[in-house]
Point group: C2
Chain length 258, copies 2
DNA sequence: CCGCGCGTTCCAGTGAGCGGAACCACGCCA
DNA sequence: TGGCGTGGTTCCGCTCACTGGAACGCGCGG
């Protein structure tokens, strides 16, 4: 799809192409002009012009050694503005720190985004940095505890995920819709979700939803760590996270009324 | 400056306008079409088209209640990709967690960006969340300990800051170039920087630089907390941060050789 | 009901943006 | 050493995407 074909009703095709270019960097840290032109299906000169403009505002940077381009730090600044202004993040700030200190493991706050989950905040500890690999902020909703908690308590999200297919990054991932629905039923009865090795080997997590006044999940709180540490205290973590989820939901309702 | 006047040598004016529009949200959380059109000096219909396109990719979002626009969470995703791929952030990951646990206060990692400092990572604790207000990731280089450490050990940055003027957000900020230079001399001799109430009232910090092989600062590590807690242990924190800075610099040099 | 403010849509004119081609720099291999 | 391939950068003629002005639709307040 070249620039001319990026229909945006009432919008600008050139800007759409520039924004789509940014998404090319999700898979690859650095890209050359030629590869960008191939992926966007535009001429090399067009790709170059897009990159030059993005680079002029530090949305992209060029590696002087290789001549290749990567995402720039101005995105980081803008992104921090976006996320720290969300109500959810504001209300969760203190709670997340407490969870981190009480449990001693990595905590995170997630929301749905399309058919995936998006981690809005992830706080680590010394031992979690050592024990856990870095992982993605965006993941399919069926392979993590927080994703499953969100699916269990947000029927729209679950439906979207199932319709889009259930990816299976590891051998433990649930990819069968029937099994997935059964798992969601278990989670709804229990009130929290668990996952081990389903997004990536050697990571266990427990998650509970943050529910709105209709009982629909608006976010999920999770604790991550190695299976040997997390699995023995699953029930305890589940209760802790449920209580935290209720507190956060209450804080958000209070915030709206303020 | 309208769209037609946004010259980008070899670039695209329309894309430049879209990116400049994003910067309008630095000051204000939400903006209407009319205000955006005023700030960019473009027609309302042009502003609207830019916003519609940015919204189509979730770079902006529209508040359905007010009709106003704000930054969208896709920026957050892209920004996280940008920052987590920096060498510095990768090397500092574990070290920052240790510093936080050893000191019990908020730690941060900063770099220079134009005439300001940019906080790449800030780790909080429960008590720091309670004791410290939220503050900006971008600040002038003369009003924070990390900014002063970067100025003391990066002469170019210091020159740029002084030439651009020394802002004084509080009554304690150093705004006189002569006094500022004297302060930098003290920091260079001592090896670490301190600040109290200079960026915002009621916050103290200690910072030390991360130096490259020529002795030029490439980053700064800082600890922040309330004056009553930080000031009595300034010397101890200074030494701790200097050691951490040396270790980080060494890790980065090792990383490059890998 | 009318006026005002603001987000949204429409349309004619034109200049910004497109792609193809050439240029330049670098590394590699016979 | 020279030729080739790769990939970033620059140039140019053509055309259509983008611009601004104007109109529209909606909500609110007097």
């Amino acid at each position: 799809m070249s620039v001319r074909e990026r229909a945006v009703t009432g919008g600008l095709q050139t800007v759409a192409a520039a924004l789509d270019l940014l998404d090319c960097f999700a898979e690859d840290e650095e890209l050359g002009v030629t590869e960008v032109s191939r992926r966007l299906n535009v001429a090399k000169s067009t790709a170059h012009r897009l990159l030059v403009t993005l680079t002029s505002r530090n949305i992209c940077e060029q590696n002087p050694r290789t001549g290749k381009y990567r995402l720039g730090l101005h995105l980081y600044e803008l992104g921090q503005l976006a996320v720290t202004r969300t109500e959810l993040r504001r209300c969760a700030r203190s709670l997340l720190e407490e969870l981190r200190e009480v449990t001693g493991w990595a905590v995170q706050l997630s929301v749905t985004s399309g058919v995936d989950t998006l981690v809005l905040e992830r706080l680590m500890t010394t031992r979690s940095v050592k024990a856990l690999p870095d992982f993605n902020r965006r993941l399919p909703g069926n392979v993590t505890a927080h994703g499953k908690a969100l699916c269990a308590f947000d029927p729209d999200f679950a439906r979207r995920r199932i319709e889009a297919g259930l990816p299976g990054p590891t051998e433990f991932s649930i990819t069968d819709p029937k099994l997935f629905r059964a798992e969601l039923e278990v989670i709804r009865r229990r009130g929290y979700a668990t996952a081990t090795g389903e997004a990536m080997p050697g990571v266990s997590s427990v998650a509970a939803p943050v529910l709105d006044s209709r009982g629909i999940a608006i976010a999920a709180l999770a604790i991550n760590g190695p299976p040997s540490e997390i699995v023995p205290m699953t029930a305890r973590l589940g209760r802790l996270l449920q209580a935290a989820g209720r507190r956060l939901a209450k804080d958000m309702r209070a915030d709206i009324l303020r």
